[in-house]
């Protein structure tokens, strides 16, 4: 058999993952399937499309055995137990295919996962296709543009390739990119993530750097009653407007200063050119100082 030891039985899979069903191909006598994956696993759901919604699910568990079904468990952790699931596996060129279906409030999510291993290699390629269908009965209620209001259901899909590096002794990173359809954006904005998996919280205290303190001071001066140039509500809105991607990548005070900057430009308090010029001169001064 190829480079991947498939060592989990259908019974074992059934006990470990009662919501999953592992079927063997009827024309094969093989009943033992397993993808060995001794590593730290991180699964990211991040939309590669502009305006798409990003999900992030992290698993810091080190599994003694991470089978393909672990991936399904991650998905289940994110979306809950699927209402329907089925997996089938075939050996020779090891191929596993899983279909999953979730029905959530207003959304129908279908995932099709296919995996095939390179012959004799330690690398398996996984193809994941996700379709999201908007099934809200009150689609008209969300205030979309009129042409979209008439469209009661819509769907979009994405196919994403990822590579699993198997049998790695070092912790490795596994990323899955799923693109969801734009309608999902209107369910809630990206920053409104209460209840989503977030992983462990690091409670360690840390000192603020001088620039962070300065950002805090700038914000207070702009909001304060002597000036009232911006409101805290505008500030919050501007940070939300950063959208998926920037919102996740920027640090806390980077989000603050980005939001403040956008509001000041929007209100005409500073111009893009003015800001750009100032940034250039500060950068030049800094480079001069480093020499």
């Amino acid at each position: 058999m190829g480079g991947i030891h498939l060592g989990i039985s259908a019974e074992e899979a059934g006990r470990g993952y009662p919501s999953m069903r592992l079927e063997t191909a009827p024309y094969r006598r093989q009943t033992s399937y397993f993808l060995y994956h001794d590593c730290q696993c991180q699964v990211s759901f991040r939309s590669p499309v502009r305006g798409g919604r990003a999900f992030l699910v992290k698993s810091e568990n080190t599994y003694p055995k991470v089978s393909y079904l672990e991936l399904l468990t991650e998905l289940s952790g994110k979306y809950g137990k699927p209402v329907e699931s089925g997996c089938r596996a075939e050996d020779e060129i090891i191929a596993i295919q899983c279909t999953l279906r979730w029905e959530m409030k207003g959304l129908l999510i279908k995932a099709l996962i296919r995996t095939a291993a390179a012959e004799g290699g330690l690398v398996a390629e996984t193809l994941l296709a996700v379709t999201v269908t908007d099934i809200r009965p009150d689609s008209a209620f969300i205030g979309l543009k009129e042409k979209k209001i008439r469209k009661k259901t819509s769907s979009a899909g994405a196919q994403i390739k990822l590579t699993w590096i198997l049998l790695s002794e070092r912790p490795i990173r596994v990323s899955i990119f799923i693109s969801l359809n734009k309608e999902d954006l209107f369910l809630h904005r990206h920053h409104d993530m209460g209840g989503l998996d977030a992983g462990p919280v690091d409670p360690a205290e840390h000192d603020y750097t001088p620039w962070e303190k300065r950002v805090d001071a700038i914000s207070r001066l702009l909001v304060g009653k002597e000036r009232r140039l911006i409101t805290l509500d505008e500030h919050r809105r501007a940070m939300e407007d950063l959208g998926p991607g920037a919102y996740d990548e920027l640090s806390y005070y980077e989000r603050w200063i980005s939001g403040i900057t956008n509001i000041l430009i929007e209100k005409g308090i500073i111009s893009v050119e003015e800001l750009g010029g100032k940034m250039e001169s500060v950068k030049a001064r800094w480079q001069e100082a480093r020499k």
């Binding site: 809950g80 409030k105 009150d138 209620f141 969300i142 205030g143 209107f186 369910l187 809630h188 904005r189 409104d192 209460g194 209840g195 409101t231 509500d233 505008e234 919050r236 809105r237 939300e240 209100k267």
Partner: protein, 98 residues
């Protein structure tokens, strides 16, 4: 603006998904709760976020929810609750049963 609800009123959070800045978290929309406190009247932050004055002020209530109502498969004790401050225009009265 006079307050529409009093402490003890059963309410349902509007199940709406407007675009833009909103202060009602996604996970609580469409859920039932009980008004536990009248907070104050505030200019509407959903308007102020776009540079408008947010007037007239909107009453804000503290609403008590059962965790079991908010989260599917909630694992904690049955009596666990969550309290959230919610603006009046996000709440509907819930008729008493029977």
């Amino acid at each position: 603006m006079s307050a529409r609800f009093i402490v003890g009123d059963r309410v349902r959070v509007r199940q709406a998904y407007p675009p833009g800045h909103v202060r009602t978290p996604y996970y609580v929309r469409g859920k039932e709760g009980v008004v536990s406190r009248m907070i104050a009247e505030h200019p509407n932050p959903e308007e102020r976020a776009y540079g408008r004055d947010g007037l007239p002020p909107v009453p804000v209530y503290r609403v008590l929810f059962r965790q079991n109502d908010l989260w599917q498969d909630y694992q904690g004790p049955e009596g666990d609750t969550t309290e959230l401050d919610i603006q009046e225009h996000w709440l509907w009265p819930l008729e008493e049963d029977g």
